[in-house]
């Protein structure tokens, strides 16, 4: 499999990273180099092997279903590039 410039543009958009058209040839070349390297994985017989979900066998711990924290809107907003009246502010989303 190899990535065309069009596919590179599509991947960049899916990743929400702006890429100039002029940068697409180099980007697709780099991505292809990495994907080519990954293709070694096709040599491995993985029949009957389950994909690993957790490296240490453990049951996810459970806790009481109770509120443990909250009431800290100011702290949560303190690092926002734009916060107004207790909310994160973003450019207009709905026309």
């Amino acid at each position: 499999m190899s990535i065309t410039e069009d596919q590179a543009r599509k991947v960049a958009h899916l990743a929400r990273i702006a890429v100039d058209d002029a940068a697409l040839p180099a980007l697709s070349r780099e991505l292809n180099g990495i994907l080519h390297f990954m293709e070694q994985l096709n040599e491995v017989d993985v029949s009957g092997v389950e994909p690993m979900t957790g490296v240490i066998p453990m049951r996810l711990r459970r806790r009481e279903d109770v509120v443990t924290t909250g009431e800290m809107a100011d702290k949560i907003l303190s690092n926002a590039p734009d916060a107004r009246e207790g909310f994160f502010a973003v450019p207009k989303v709905v026309e």
Partner: protein
């Protein structure tokens, strides 16, 4: 007592307890060393006021007879750890100006133990890199130098490694996703320990690849690694993957006796093109363990070769998901928007400006391998290969192997900027001996064992059984004693 900053944790602890020095004096010595080491670019955010306050509190605690092992010990913290009120940006522009309102569990544990915070340490952006070249602060520089070239301290914990090797602090924290503690430790002649996945909490550690990330100590000696791991590790309800095992006394495990232990030498690590010096060092290391009474056994880990490509599928996939949170809304950088730009343009411009080239590459690769049509071919296949890699280790340990010995890196430290940046895979090959351990979730430690013909440090790593860090450290102690590595970089900075 001169050169307080060059003490080990154990030496400083003992001197503090005997009243031969104070936390305040130790801290001043480190702050002075840091001030004159700007050329290393190791410390990127300085916290001298905090350090002095914490040192005072530590001295009061010592006087009150309430000192823990790390009380009064000045340490550096990798930028990836959130420290309340202190810039914490994982060396990324996208977190410019971010001051966390909360504290990572690891740093909280260290402060509870009385450790002193000197500042934040340089690293690769989001811990993605093997040379510290992808940092928004510019690269950290290796204190080891043999000619005109500036050498990399390795990555991603390059600032931590440089700071410890140059005696700017007594020890530092690191994180290791594919070798980011062990490789820089090897490149700078120090000890670096990656604990078992789940041993150290990931709460408050800025995430790269959550199924692989693990924090650990970077220290001058194996004993110090034991002391510092004991302070960093905990069972943490804030991290659902934190393992429910009590933290033992790791220092007590350092008996220096490994008689009758079986050490595996994995034949697959003898890769094509491995420098003769590295191979020779490996043989010497095996000889040292044999002389200490261990049995050396050749073993096979047949899927070793596939660890690197599996890692470079799984880690970017997890990164693409973890780094989705950097959207210009909640923290850090937001791009200046043009007329008519909507929220999508805000995301795209913010991320293009905020992420460096290597992070962008990994996020896009991760996006690609997780996208419809490729998920099975790449991501699921890589996770199956990961299961096989872990199985290789399970078999070795089930066959009675106690620890595994391998080189840490395929070379000594190389020149900054010397790896062709147009071919990212060349840089990835640095991780060939280290990534297997992260994929298998096992603990590993790099110990400085020798120098190459130019005089640069070389390390060997030992792999241990899950949650048997004490036993692993004991093997490492034997290797450290036998190797007798005492060389220090000549001061040029």
């Amino acid at each position: 007592m001169s050169d307080l900053n060059s003490l080990t944790i154990a030496q400083a602890r003992d001197a503090l307890r005997k009243g031969e020095t104070t936390a305040a004096d130790l801290t001043e010595a480190c702050l002075l060393a840091i001030d004159s080491a700007g050329a290393l670019n190791a410390f990127v955010h300085h916290t001298p006021d905090m350090a002095r306050q914490m040192a005072q509190a530590a001295d009061a605690r010592i006087r009150a007879g309430d000192a823990a092992a790390m009380t009064g010990i000045p340490v550096g913290i990798k930028d990836v750890f959130c420290v309340r009120g202190v810039p914490s940006q994982a060396a990324s522009r996208i977190l410019q100006g971010f001051r966390p309102e909360y504290e990572s569990t690891v740093t909280q544990n260290l402060w509870n133990a009385g450790a002193v915070m000197l500042g934040k340490l340089n690293q690769d952006e989001f811990a993605m890199g093997s040379a510290n070249e992808s940092s928004c602060y510019g690269p950290a520089v290796n204190p080891w130098k043999v000619d005109d070239r500036q050498l990399t301290p390795g990555g991603s914990s390059g600032g931590s490694a440089a700071a410890v090797a140059a005696d700017l602090c007594l020890a530092a924290t690191g994180t290791d996703t594919g070798g980011s503690i062990r490789q820089p430790a090897a490149f700078t002649g120090i000890v670096g320990l990656k604990p078992t996945y789940g041993r150290v909490s990931r709460w408050g550690v800025i995430a790269y690849a959550s199924s692989l990330d693990q924090a650990g100590p970077m220290t001058k000696t194996v004993r110090d690694a034991a002391i510092m791991l004991g302070a960093m590790a905990s069972v943490d309800p804030q991290d659902s993957t934190s393992a429910d095992h009590p933290v033992p006394d790791y220092e007590a495990a350092l008996t220096g006796d490994i008689r009758g232990k079986r050490i595996g030498i994995p034949r697959e690590y003898r890769v094509d093109g491995m420098p003769a010096e590295i191979d020779a060092l490996w043989h010497q290391g095996a000889g040292m363990l044999r002389d200490a009474g261990a049995e050396i056994v050749e073993i096979s880990l047949p899927h070793t070769k596939y660890a690197l490509p599996a890692y470079y599928v799984i880690a970017p996939a997890e990164a693409s998901s973890n780094l989705a949170r950097y959207d210009g809304v909640r923290y850090g950088h937001r791009a200046r928007l043009g007329q008519g730009d909507g929220i999508t343009e805000m995301y795209e411009k913010t991320r293009a400006e905020g992420f460096g080239p290597e992070v962008q590459r990994r996020v896009m690769i991760g996006t690609y391998v997780l996208s419809a049509g490729f998920y099975d071919a790449y991501y699921n296949r890589a996770r199956k290969v990961r299961a096989l890699i872990k199985r290789d280790f399970d078999h070795a340990f089930a066959d009675g192997i106690d620890a595994i010995l391998a080189p840490t890196t395929p070379s000594a430290a190389f020149g900054l900027g010397s790896v062709d940046s147009s071919d990212p895979v060349q840089m990835y090959l640095n991780d060939v001996f280290t990534v297997t351990l992260n994929l298998a979730g096992l603990p590993g430690i790099s110990v400085p064992v020798g120098q190459d013909r130019q005089g640069l440090p070389l390390g060997l790593q030992l792999f241990g059984k899950p949650f048997e860090e004490g036993d692993l450290l004991n093997h490492a102690l034997v290797l450290e004693r036998a190797a007798g590595f005492v060389a220090k970089p000549d001061r040029w900075w």
